[in-house]
Symmetry: C2
Subunit: 725 residues, 2 copies
């Protein structure tokens, strides 16, 4: 489950300024009568150790990790998943290259599967009940991978079972505005809507449809959105290129919130209270099923009715009509219905996280957490095994240094191989619920590397090992101008729930980073790598088309490991609060220009927010100054710890469990998701959009309320950056 | 506002084991080449400094503090209140004996006052509208104090204004069961109910009445409940004794939640969103007014109708009848109504906290907070000035040591003189809202000393200065048997919101303590000291009857200061998690015996809770063992800090903002208030009582839900006590 594709994303305090901070603090020289721990507690990150780490990260090891991880499909809780659990444990418990400790943690979680003995079917049936067309049930085989009996049939997890039959209509991306427009021309009651991926969340395509009387939804990937228009599997698509073959189908979870849906805010253990299934919200109320564009082509090009607008047209060589509803009278499907037979079953299954740790030497009670999910939809070579292969190479190199006694990080490092992410970030979310207090108190940062490499297009090199560094490459293809630093690499914000960072940043307020190597968007319009969530996301695909030679994987391993070691070993945490302040300034400027005029009319002042952002700016500058002008290696380690606690806990100060009453497990007032689509404070933007749309004074009250929540959180965060007393 | 009277109350980790921990850690001797800070960071509490502190605490200074503080009435936000603000600031900014820094913090809070130009009136009016009796508007003068024009008329803060007129009935304590019983005999529609203090919260007496059609409520203090039955002001009551004169009236806040009611969870600043006044809950829906027992006697003894039950009878020499409704036909009030004319006005006023700090030398980012409210209803000699007089003596002695360069605590000490406590703990609650993140992250403990001394009956002595120590006295009059420690002084639990500790423990999860010197309950039945919230709570009353010579005040100052210094200076925090575990064991045993059988019938297992408590027990024993067997003064200060963080943050681990959806600002799953009246987990007890009463399966679901919340919180807390990784 990856909704955002970013070169490197960091939430909260930026790691960018690593270079500014490191090297500043030497090692205090102490005489023989000083306690032995004095040297340890004042030690800073060792650059030569980082160089050694970078040189030992091996592309071929990553390749072999990936080969092993993708031998069989490993959907959550299947036998293939258990095989990867055992593999991770074996590697992390290896006496030569393993971690200090590794173990599994289990949760009983609510999942959804097709019935293997009764596959989901989509057919075109004539008025006399003759089956005129049957949609392909499994993807076409090109390598032997697609023939593995463990390849799960394409399906929409959490779609209800059901057997709707009705006239077909085309509803573009299934957004509210799409159904609204379609409904002006076609009576949607009793219809089946075909939609394409993109524009709206998966489940939303069904949720948005139901109020219009639509009884079933199909979804497919249009070649325009994924293949730059290419469609032919004899020459254009995989195995001839990285593009999606016509029978390829994107599977996915069709739920709207993250974590186990039966146990909100509670770890899903035996005996845990489970809400009644009928109380689950955010899942499709009507059956929905994904299909390949091979079948979508046949269905859409036969549709009758008016031509859909230009923006609704895809790559097929026909006009996309709305549907009569139903097919053209001139087509073979004249007067026929589309019938869906969905046999999905929900089950409570035992899902495992695999955990491993390297104990910290000086501050074992400070955790740097590094994680990725382990479960895939099919073989999952890119999603998620590219990230897992990278993680295993990281742990091999670091583990060996630890086992050989050459290194032990200052802080503890926790590795997490999460289960059941594809069903809604379940393993990581349950973990944060179970260990809420401990993780909140002690976690310095969370690093997520899920899909490590999206595609090999830009020239890749690792820092120090080639003429083009990751930094240079990054700044060339994606940059921004910072008032403090000039031109610097651009980083996105973790405002969504695209991967396992969600619970860490949104629920726990832990500074988080999501790292991946992505592609030059000027060279393809693919919304994601084309084999995403299909039976073609295999080792062959990864090694032939995504990263032959695995040098991009190596670059990611080096970059992520570099960040990891600096977070674990730096005397002063490489997190910069002035960079945070830049983001708040941008958000404030946008908010003022978008909202202030209208808010004044409702007698709502933005002054408290302006004051809060100004307080934060000045407090952040102050702490920066203290860090820059102190020789902390010569002072009491409790002074360094004090500053590190200020940096570590900064994101926690932005949490308010009551800030988003309608958003499950979103508590961070700066980085929460938003539907308003404005680059500003999410809760303010959403509340303003609601109030503007309804015009109700109680909705303007909600804007005022959220403005107060936000101002108080920012003022409170600023307070934590000032001198402590 | 004091609902609980306790010898000394501590929530969470117990300070009791101070004696066990101190003296264990010596000072590491280091050679001249060790950094200079090595000696500082390993230093433990200095016993000779505590002895010095104890010897310098002066009873006469406390007496003079009290004299100054009680010169004029100082109700919140009045001129008298401002006078005390200036006095506190002057003392805390004194160059010889003041603190490092002192300042004021202001909030715009929602208060309720009578109209000085239009006093509230309660009258008996005949059918022809003749006033037959008028209730006294002000308390009778005995010393000049009661004649001060700033003495506020007795009133019920947050009672609505209104002019109900109706037949009088007697409703005992105004509990739901009282109105229920009364309603079986008397038609309550249109009546005025007279109730006595006790048994139900102040506001609840009106809230419980309204559903029966009662239109107004009077409340008085029965001599049985406060005066051991005595009534005569010519010989028995103040100024002849500590007992309440017949005209004395207990004022009070009649709201049901703490903090400013217009700004829930938000600090009440200019521009802060305020909820509509009509959305306030928990305040009287009908007018209510307190009166003295002098007038209550006249009204109650004239009531007609059946005799009330024995348990409803008070100390008056007449039978307490239900009311016909209304008066006996044989009384002068035959056929007459009681009329209430209430002119209370709500106002948003500027209330100040006065804050002061002593900066910590080694861990300035760890706070020990010591506080008391400053505002009173009238002169407030006991409530709260006895506590403030003690606090000022503490800060004088400590401040002088700091100014003379003789001492600086390891951790920072923050003093708070809270405003507007009497209206609902407002100043302290707003403070915790404004500085939520900073206080949550850094506060080691909160110590509250409100009413320092309730009465001078038991023999008092300070540790080391007399033959009977506070400890010996305490253990003699109030003790319990602990599996770990044998017979020890008994401490209560801070489960309510009786004073300013509420926001610290319930909202922030900060280990808190409420200290006072109270009386031997075998010697009086008074529910509290009799002058409580009346115009008789004066310096004269305090020095004549409560603590002549101020030796009890001195004992409290010594005890509180001793605890404060140990919390601020001990190398390892004097907080004991095994004592916490004893309380959880007791709670569990009670819960199992009360609930397990019935829960099984609903297929709800208590095993997760049992497992959680066992995890906690073993983790607490483990941490205790680590502390006891380590020579922490010889190890890295970061190891001590790690343990101290475990102890400091233990209570935070029990917070769940979603645990009590119906209780405002209660988040601590162990110490929250409970209406079920069982000595066990409060949310479980309340949920069980609701389910048992309704029998609805959705209410049993709520029991199961809370059991999961509770188990997860306890398991999570246990995790924080284990080895950190």
């Amino acid at each position: 489950m990856i909704k955002q594709v970013l070169v490197g994303v960091i939430c909260g305090a930026a790691v960018l300024t690593v270079g500014i901070l490191i090297g500043h603090f030497g090692i205090t020289k102490t005489g023989s009568s000083a306690p032995s721990w004095v040297t340890d507690v004042t030690k800073d990150v060792d650059e030569s150790l980082i160089d050694k780490f970078l040189s030992e990260v091996d592309n071929i090891q990553i390749q072999e990790n990936l080969r092993e991880l993708t031998k069989v499909p490993h959907m959550a809780t299947t036998a293939g998943d258990e095989q990867t659990v055992q593999f991770m444990l074996k590697r992390w418990q290896d006496p030569e290259t393993g971690l200090d400790k590794a173990w599994r943690e289990e949760y009983l979680v609510y999942l959804s599967f097709p019935d293997p003995t009764n596959p989901n079917k989509v057919t075109v049936v004539s008025p006399s009940d003759t089956v005129l067309h049957q949609v392909r049930e499994k993807e076409k085989n090109y390598t032997s991978d697609q023939n593995d009996p463990e390849v799960v049939q394409p399906y929409a997890a959490y779609s209800p079972a059901g057997h709707p039959k009705g006239k077909l209509v085309y509803a573009n991306q299934g957004k509210p505005s799409d159904y609204h427009l379609l409904n002006q021309t076609v009576d949607l009651r009793g219809t089946i809507a075909i939609t394409r991926y993109g524009g709206a969340g998966r489940g939303a395509k069904a949720i948005n449809a139901a109020p219009y009387g639509v009884i079933g939804v199909l979804v497919y990937t249009d070649p325009l959105d994924i293949n730059d228009g290419l469609m032919s599997d004899t020459s254009e698509t995989y195995p001839h290129s990285w593009y999606l073959p016509p029978s390829g189908v994107e599977r996915g979870s069709f739920n709207g919130q993250y974590g186990d849906m039966l146990t909100p805010y509670l770890a899903a253990k035996e005996g845990t209270y489970r809400i009644p299934v009928e109380n689950i919200t955010g899942i499709p109320p009507i059956p929905i099923q994904p299909i390949g564009f091979e079948d979508a082509y046949i269905l859409i090009c036969a549709l009758g009715g008016e031509a859909a607008p230009a923006s609704w047209q895809g790559a097929f060589n026909c006009t996309y009509n709305f549907g009569g509803p139903g097919f053209k009278s001139t087509s073979a499907f004249n007067d026929s219905d589309v019938k869906m037979d969905i046999f999905n079953q929900e089950k409570i299954k035992n899902s495992s996280n695999v955990m491993g740790v390297i104990r910290g030497s000086v501050e074992p009670d400070r955790y740097v957490i590094y994680g990725n999910h382990r479960d895939s939809w099919v073989h999952g070579a890119i999603d998620p095994s590219s990230g897992t292969a990278v993680m295993l190479e990281l742990t091999r190199v670091l583990g060996r240094m630890v086992k050989q006694g050459k290194w032990r990080p200052r802080r503890s490092i926790v590795f997490g191989s999460w289960g059941a992410e594809e069903f809604g970030l379940i393993g990581s979310a349950e973990y944060t619920e179970q260990y809420f207090a401990k993780l909140s108190e002690r976690t310095v940062a969370y690093i997520n590397v899920d899909i490590a490499v999206f595609v090999f297009i830009v020239k890749v090199a690792a820092p120090g090992l080639d003429s083009t560094s990751v930094y240079d490459n990054w700044i060339r293809y994606s940059n921004r101008t910072s008032p403090n630093h000039g031109t610097i690499p651009r980083m996105g914000f973790l405002t969504g729930a695209g991967s396992d960072y969600a619970a860490f940043v949104h629920y726990l307020g832990i500074t988080s980073m999501d790292i991946s190597y992505t592609y030059d968007r000027s060279k393809t319009n693919a919304r994601i790598y084309p084999a995403y969530h299909t039976a073609y996301d295999t080792f062959n695909y990864a090694s032939e088309f995504i990263d032959p030679g695995f040098l991009s994987h190596q670059a990611i391993a080096r970059t992520a490991g570099n960040v990891l070691i600096r977070l674990a070993d730096s005397l002063v945490l490489p997190l910069n609060c002035s960079d945070y302040s830049e983001s708040l300034d941008d958000y404030l400027n946008t908010a003022v220009s978008l909202y202030e005029h209208k808010l004044k009319a409702w007698k709502i002042s933005m002054e408290p927010l302006k004051h809060a952002v100004a307080s934060f700016r000045s407090a952040a500058a102050h702490l920066d100054h203290v860090i820059r002008t102190s020789d902390l290696a010569k002072e009491t380690p409790l002074k360094v710890r004090k500053i590190n606690d200020q940096l570590m806990l900064l994101d926690r100060a932005f949490l308010d469990p009551l800030a988003f009453p309608d958003k499950y497990a979103y508590r961070h007032v700066i980085w929460a998701s938003s539907s308003a689509g404005k680059p500003t404070f999410p809760g303010l933007a959403d509340a303003f959009a609601s109030a503007e749309s309804s015009g109700h004074s109680r909705d303007w009250d909600k804007v005022h309320f959220h403005l107060s929540v936000l101002s108080q959180a920012i003022e409170g965060a600023a307070q934590t950056l000032l001198d402590v007393i």
